[in-house]
Point group: C2
């Protein structure tokens, strides 16, 4: 019996998570969920971001389903560093998984790119790089101020995520891994990534590989996203590239993500890429598809690949069946998906 911690969060987070749970309960009837009140609302009410006791309780779960946390009223960094990144780091969620597909029934903003043609997954490193928070401000607020940010990368951290990317590629049809970095400028970290990539690649002789600088990859994601299968990259580059991948597949409405500890030594976390969207919160019009697709990633991670595939296909079919111009409510989409997987 899977134990899932639910962090619905702020704004549309609560709305989309309700639908994701509806679908999850149909496909996994004995799932046990516990709600955790975290995010901007709690921060404003109590000043707390992630109390240690809550962190300990979360640790006891098989996975976390998260809606969205955040609000413009919270200073930048508070919830990001204190909640989202804290969970990624403390729970060693080193595989930040972000699939991008151009679904039948959707249109890419790219002229001439047809549904089905884009089907890639970015394996973004989740526990190192510039996200470690190592930095500071000297003489802050004066003309002499110096601000630093340090990117920390270990062979341990780089190797495990690259190996994960190869293992995922081995299970896919095209069997190709693209390493993205900036080895010509970030020679120290780039050297480590490139050497490690070459070492791991030797273990997977039948996987096609290529290397691209991050600026070139950003361009190719626009001019030729079809070329990618599995992309492995560092934390910050992955943050940027996955948003480009989302954009060329029609936006973040269908973008799912998992922050995964593949060994299941800690709970992994699954969340739509979109934010809390305060502008449309409470209106019942948010699209829950990305949250439901994130639930599919959760199911796959917990060892239910058929259930995951069923949920994913249900979303694909629902999207394909939409009538242009007539938007369904959050709840209506959730109902359709729950029915489809029943």
């Amino acid at each position: 019996m899977a134990k899932i911690a639910v962090v619905a969060g702020d704004g549309i987070g609560t709305e989309v998570v309700a639908q994701a749970l509806k679908v999850l309960r149909v496909i996994l009837p004995d799932v046990e969920t516990t709600d955790y009140d975290l995010g901007a609302a709690r921060y404003h009410r109590t000043g707390e971001v992630l109390p240690d006791s809550v962190l300990e309780e979360l640790r006891g779960h098989d996975a976390i389903l998260l809606g969205a946390v955040g609000d413009p009223s919270v200073p930048p960094g508070v919830l990001e560093r204190g909640l989202l990144l804290k969970l990624r780091f403390d729970f060693d969620q080193y595989v930040n998984l972000r699939p991008s597909r151009l679904w039948p029934g959707t249109t890419s903003p790219l002229a001439g790119v047809k549904p089905g043609e884009i089907d890639l997954v970015v394996v973004r490193e989740g526990t190192e790089g510039l996200y470690v928070g190592a930095g500071g401000n000297l003489h802050p607020g004066t003309p002499a101020e110096v601000a630093t940010e340090e990117s920390l990368n270990t062979r341990h951290g780089v190797e495990r995520v690259i190996r994960d990317a190869f293992a995922r590629a081995a299970k896919r049809e095209r069997r190709k891994v693209t390493l993205v970095h900036k080895t010509n400028v970030l020679t120290h970290a780039g050297g480590l990534w490139a050497r490690t990539f070459n070492a791991v690649k030797a273990e997977f002789p039948d996987i096609e590989t290529e290397y691209q600088h991050v600026d070139a990859a950003a361009m190719f994601l626009v001019s030729n996203p079809q070329r990618y299968d599995v992309v492995v990259t560092d934390n910050l580059f992955g943050d940027i590239l996955t948003d480009i991948a989302a954009a060329v597949t029609g936006g973040i409405g269908l973008a799912a993500s998992g922050s995964i500890n593949p060994e299941r030594a800690f709970p992994s976390m699954f969340e739509p890429v979109h934010g809390s969207a305060p502008d449309i919160a409470g209106k019942g019009i948010a699209d829950p598809s990305a949250a439901v697709l994130s639930t599919a990633l959760l199911l796959d991670h917990l060892g239910h690949p058929e259930a995951a595939a069923k949920v994913t296909s249900a979303v694909g079919a629902e999207v394909a069946a939409r009538t242009p111009g007539s938007a369904l409510s959050t709840e209506a989409i959730g109902d359709r998906l729950a029915e489809a997987v029943a």
Copy 2:
């Protein structure tokens, strides 16, 4: 009389620079040019990247016109760090200027975006951030390896480039500046950038401003590039965003850049964004337009705004007059442009 150092470089660099010089000599007949042999070819022949004596000679010029340097046979970082970045840093070229326009006669890969709708300029910081090369490898080649890269940012460096961006926006029609950073994760450097932006903005009360995280900006450059006028950002973010901007305006065929020291205390450097393209080198088919547009940026920087505008319009007109499917040679395009500005 302007003294220009010409670094034609490798591959198509020599071909496009020849055409750029043809145009430059028509519009600025008394220009004095000196060729410098730098790049992959010289590196292979002599082992030298940028001898001190050459650096000193370059210093005596008003500007540098560069074609492209690089070849896959050179290890990553050698020419980038030893030549391009060395010039940017030693000559304090802190404004890395990259305009992107969707020219009449070209088509964007973005469906429904029409020529004229995209007209933005990225003011990328050029002398700080992760490009400083501060980093190292501990226990290299062992399982215990740690690699670091440090982003260094000063109030001095951030303020001058932000002020330059505002000054440029003040001369444009839309008068809008977008700051792009990642303040929610890179809180130290992001804090410095955001505080400095707010301070400078107070000096330009009639300029519209906005802030975006780099991942959101990467997405908006695809979904709504029309929204941007002047974008100011750090060195690495600028590297990535300008390639997305190039992609949505039809690729790097028309992407020009200037690495500028606005005070003219040191020579500024102007170059097409494209590389040496060994695959098409020597065939006479490279499009020299980006090199010619870079020459227009050079003219503007040296105080010839009318000449710059004339060259820019000539390129625009030539591109608009192209017959789809019948590509002109490098030389033929150069001839047309030289004729047009005559």
